[in-house]
């Protein structure tokens, strides 16, 4: 790990001013940043510690029903907040399917949004990687790339964004509040992460010094609470990143879907909102045929970026699974294995797998 200067600002304004100096990075819990510093992928000269700033760790409900979540709220605290998990159960389920209990106790809302890709070539400083070292090439093309993107990728980078949390957030129209050297602005989460194009090193709209101060979920997003589920396929039962995942949220009245939300994880460099699928579901009866049509629409533009064609069909199936679970109704209590394909209220668990 390179040596760095440690800065502990006392206010957001001080933090933004300090971070605007080139070579600076914000330190939230450090569960991603420190990891990358240990392997030489991140080499900040200055760490601006967000952990002692006042008021960034608050969950508040605004008068119009919007919930505002401070950037320093810990993933576990958000997932277990009684009001929050009742109004936004699909977000709680996604959070609890990520990482481990220890990591969720540490990891912050802001850090989860801004975590870097798990692409193995990105993490290996001896490999060519346009995202880490612009213009050096991409060793994932033609290398081990079965976990890579099937949507929105470019010749320059085929990495995915690993967050679970962001998937239901983008489905529910979350908004990111940013404080920067140029003042305060807000941007829909759907527009926050950037697709690689020919500048994969630009991962989000943040400019140097920009600080995520909070996330907001609009009041109407709570209207999906009765039918909202996250489903995540992993290569082991727990404590693993998604191969593919889906967040589905439905409003159902008189046996018809009046409004649908669907987003996919593990498929692109950003959480992937599937608007064509949502349009296909509006007005439909919530049945297997409608869900299959929606899944086809969601993956219509998908193409393999390497040895990962299988992910396209897996993503369709996880979308169908999430929609089926959502239609069956949000359980009062989350299943023992949140978002797991092996434990859910509508499908009996295969015997012998989890003795």
């Amino acid at each position: 790990m390179n040596r760095f200067e440690y800065v502990r600002p006392r206010s957001v304004a001080e933090a933004v001013a300090a971070a605007a100096i080139p070579g600076s990075a914000y330190l939230a819990a450090g569960t991603n940043l420190l990891d990358l510093m240990k392997i030489g992928v991140a080499r900040p000269e200055r760490l601006i510690d967000l952990n002692h700033l006042p008021d960034l760790d608050i969950i508040e409900q605004l008068p119009d029903g919007t919930v505002r979540i401070g950037a320093q709220v810990r993933n576990a605290d958000l997932a277990h907040d009684p009001d929050f998990r009742q109004r936004f159960p699909v977000v709680a389920e996604a959070l609890l399917s990520g990482a481990s209990a220890q990591l969720r106790n540490m990891a912050t809302v802001g850090g989860n949004l801004l975590q870097r890709t798990r692409c193995a070539w990105f993490q290996d400083t001896a490999s060519a990687c346009n995202r880490r070292a612009p213009g050096s090439g991409c060793d994932a093309r033609g290398g081990e790339n079965r976990m890579h993107a099937v949507l929105g990728w470019s010749e320059h980078c085929i990495a995915t964004h690993p967050s679970d949390f962001c998937v239901p957030l983008v489905a529910l129209d979350a908004v990111v509040e940013i404080e920067g050297p140029a003042g305060r602005r807000e941007i829909p989460l759907a527009d926050f992460h950037l697709l690689p194009g020919d500048t994969p090193e630009r991962e989000s709209v943040l400019a140097p010094g920009d600080l995520v101060v909070a996330l907001r979920l609009p009041a109407e997003a709570a209207g999906f609470a009765a039918h909202a589920r996250y489903a995540k396929l992993r290569e082991r039962t727990s404590y693993a990143f998604a191969v593919v995942s889906a967040a589905a949220a439905l409003r159902i009245a008189d046996g018809r879907i009046t409004e649908a939300r669907l987003a996919l994880g593990g498929v692109a460099a950003k959480p992937w909102r599937a608007r064509a699928a949502e349009a296909a579901l509006a007005g439909a009866t919530p049945d297997a045929a409608a869900f299959r049509r929606a899944a086809e629409a969601a993956l219509a533009e998908a193409r393999p970026s390497g040895d990962n064609g299988f992910k396209i069909e897996l993503a369709r199936r996880i979308a169908i699974r999430a929609l089926t679970l959502a239609a069956a109704g949000t359980p009062d209590r989350l299943p023992a294995l949140p978002a797991s394909a092996f434990a859910s209220s509508s499908t009996p668990r295969p015997r012998g797998l989890h003795v």
Binding site: F4, T31, D35, N51, S100, A101, A343
Partner: protein, 165 residues
């Protein structure tokens, strides 16, 4: 430049001078404070061997910068027993053969105490396994670990009730 960090470790206040901001809580405990009970497995958040309680919450000490946790209260495996009396989770691990080589055990025990404190798993074995999934065991002592955590959960609930009565 050096930095002063004040921590309460196993109920004892300690002030440490850090000559380098890169020190993690794990390295601080093991290398500078003579508390090697907390183990370093992967050093990257992937195994749970370094689990400690930080302000009462289980966390991975390998991914926490010491300097950022100025003022924190830390509990490690060394702080559990009172004299010869083991903590109920320690006793349950012995009773259920919940380890073989023992390398993962301090992390498992600290994680189990965190889990029981969180109160989300109760007496449901599957919730216990999920709640303990951040702690890997190369020896595969998982069955004993789950049994030990379930028993310690019961014992600690009974003790709390007795105290309340």
């Amino acid at each position: 430049m050096s930095y002063l960090v004040t921590l309460t470790i196993n109920r004892v206040p300690r002030t440490v001078e850090l000559d380098d901001p890169r020190v993690t809580l794990l390295d601080l405990l093991r290398e500078r404070l003579d508390l090697p009970g907390t183990k370093k497995g992967c050093d990257r958040g992937q195994c749970g061997a370094c689990t400690i309680l930080l302000d009462g919450r289980r966390v991975n000490a390998c991914l926490a910068l010491a300097i950022s946790h100025d003022g924190a209260d830390i509990l490690t495996i060394e702080g559990l027993a009172e004299g010869q009396a083991l903590h109920p989770v320690q006793a349950a691990f012995i009773a259920h053969d919940a380890f073989q080589c023992g390398f993962c055990t301090p992390g498992q025990i600290m994680s189990a105490i965190g889990l029981i404190g969180e109160g989300q798993a109760g007496d449901d074995a599957e919730r216990v396994r999920e709640g303990m999934s951040g702690n890997l065991c190369r020896c595969g002592a998982y069955r004993g670990i789950t049994e030990a955590v379930l028993e310690a959960t019961r014992i600690m609930a009974d003790t709390t009730q007795e105290k309340a009565a």
